[in-house]
């Protein structure tokens, strides 16, 4: 391994001072450069990587809220868990099907069936919108029963967790719209194809995450209690 080195040779410098001569950005005599290192697929990968990174932070926030939930449940005896509004079973069904829809969209794009890709994006968006409507209806139902965000710690968390999830899902809807508008334009170059696939992959990962998150929250709110 590395050991101490003392240099005893006298070196004659080719250049003196700073800021004057130095080898060019390509290194001495090399014709190859870093540009060729950047291929379309590797470049487009950033959207997938970025999405996983973003999901890590979203997961952390829900972890923090979950731990607050668990601590709060144990911190006093005023915890009165809501009974599960039946509408939420519909919500769960809708989001599960929407996951299947976006996965279908993604695969259609991979098979270069771009008009079907667009169509399945729309179906996913419609299902996502239906999910949000079902959430809103469930909240309205609870409000009619006199259960508000401050009624009870469990109801506080119910509203908070479902609302936070809904906000993130709405973000997913915006991303879907963006993908759909993009899908109307034809692709010409390799880089555009790679980017389009990467975008679809990234939004799909996000969507599946929202689905899994919903299942998790559902279980936390109504199974763990």
């Amino acid at each position: 391994m590395a050991t101490m080195v003392t240099s005893t040779k006298t070196i004659t410098k080719k250049t003196t001072g700073g800021g004057s001569k130095f080898p060019g950005p390509n290194g001495n005599g090399s014709k190859r450069n870093g540009n060729e290192y950047r291929e379309p697929d590797r470049d487009a990968n950033r959207y997938r990587i970025g999405m996983w990174v973003a999901l890590a932070s979203i997961a952390m926030m829900f972890t923090a809220l979950s731990s607050a939930y668990i601590v709060r449940a144990g911190s006093s005896n005023d915890w009165q868990a809501l009974s599960m509004p039946r509408l939420l079973i519909l919500s769960t069904g809708l989001i599960l099907v929407s996951s299947a829809a976006i996965e279908t969209a993604r695969r259609k794009l991979k098979a270069t069936l771009s008009s079907e890709y667009s169509r399945w994006l729309l179906i996913t968006a419609a299902l996502g919108l239906a999910f949000l409507v079902s959430q809103f209806l469930a909240w309205r139902q609870l409000v009619r029963q006199g259960i508000y965000v401050s009624s009870n710690p469990h109801s506080s968390f119910f509203y908070l967790l479902t609302a936070t999830h809904a906000v993130h899902l709405f973000g997913g809807l915006l991303a879907l719209s963006f993908l759909w508008f993009r899908s109307r334009r034809p692709v010409h170059t390799k880089i555009e194809t790679a980017k389009r696939q990467a975008g679809a992959d990234a939004v799909t990962i996000y969507w599946h995450f929202m689905d899994a998150l919903w299942i998790y929250l559902f279980l936390l709110l109504f199974l763990w209690r």
């Binding site: 590395a2 050991t3 101490m4 080195v5 240099s7 006298t10």
Partner: protein, 282 residues
């Protein structure tokens, strides 16, 4: 330039060390049983800290003193990327010292916090509020009268909500000063009416937060009679700096006779005792 920097670093180091060694501004004299062990652990840590601090600054100064650019053409630094052996050596040595310190640093904590107050302890309920302290004494029956937040009325001077209809409350007293016995374990039951406060007497070497919604039990033993200042040590609002109370450490007989008194007599006797004992000189 390097030499100037070295001298300044060494001077600052020397002055810093002198500041500590002089003990001109230091802990006040301790009055609790666990304090000698705490102070000893502090000194051991301070010696490790002092040696590490001084050695590092001397080393840094030495490097900048000795290894300035000579300006001679062709005179280069030593080309080395490091030494794995050194890395292992100084990592292990540092880890051993730090872990040993850490483990040693648990013993006072364990003796005070990992067990309950021993039987026969003298119990006082402490209820803090913005911006005063309330001390609730159980009286001769050693049972605390019931309290209820709904009964609190600062205007009517029922600061902690004593339920007068509870027979156990008959011999209770509530004052704004703390009286505890010398050489007997004391159990404090810490509560708060509004926000987080912190019970702190510097001479006791002892602190604990008072958290609303919780009753926290802590214990210690004071071993020197006298009067001491009690300060709030957790930001609780604008008069946090003024939330002072006095703690009296009394001989057992004085405390017993105090305990037997009713509320009005208790308060009056407290005032007498607060005048009788003086704060330590600083």
């Amino acid at each position: 330039m390097g030499r100037v920097l070295a001298v300044i670093i060494w001077t600052l180091t020397l002055l810093s060390v002198l500041l500590f060694i002089s003990k001109k501004w230091w802990f006040p004299a301790a009055i609790s049983e666990h304090a000698p062990a705490l102070d000893r652990q502090f000194m051991i840590t301070l010696v490790v800290v002092g040696i590490s601090f001084t050695a590092a600054q001397i080393g840094l100064g030495w490097m900048v003193w000795k290894y300035g650019d000579t300006g001679k053409a062709g005179d280069r630094a030593v080309y080395t990327h490091g030494s794995n052996r050194l890395e292992v050596l100084w990592t292990v040595i540092t880890a051993v010292i730090f872990i040993v310190l850490a483990v040693m640093g648990q013993s006072v904590w364990a003796s005070l916090r990992l067990n309950n107050a021993p039987p026969g302890s003298y119990s006082v309920e402490v209820v803090a509020q913005q911006f005063q302290w309330n001390f609730h004494y159980a009286g001769k029956d050693k049972v605390f009268g019931r309290t209820d937040p709904k009964l609190i009325d600062d205007g009517a001077l029922n600061f902690i909500g004593i339920d007068e209809s509870d027979p156990n409350a008959k011999d209770d007293a509530v004052t704004s000063a703390l009286a505890i016995p010398v050489n007997r374990p004391v159990e404090l039951r810490l509560r708060s009416k509004d926000v987080i406060h912190n019970f702190w007497v510097p001479q006791l070497r002892f602190k604990q937060d008072l958290v609303p919604g919780m009753e926290i039990k802590v214990h210690f033993t004071a071993n020197k009679v006298g009067k001491y200042e009690l300060a709030c040590a957790e930001l609780c609002g604008q008069l946090h700096f003024k939330m002072r109370a006095y703690m009296l450490v009394l001989p057992e007989d004085e405390l017993q006779s105090l305990e037997a008194l009713s509320q009005e007599q208790f308060v009056a006797r407290m005032t007498e005792l607060l005048n009788k004992y003086q704060l330590p000189t600083y």
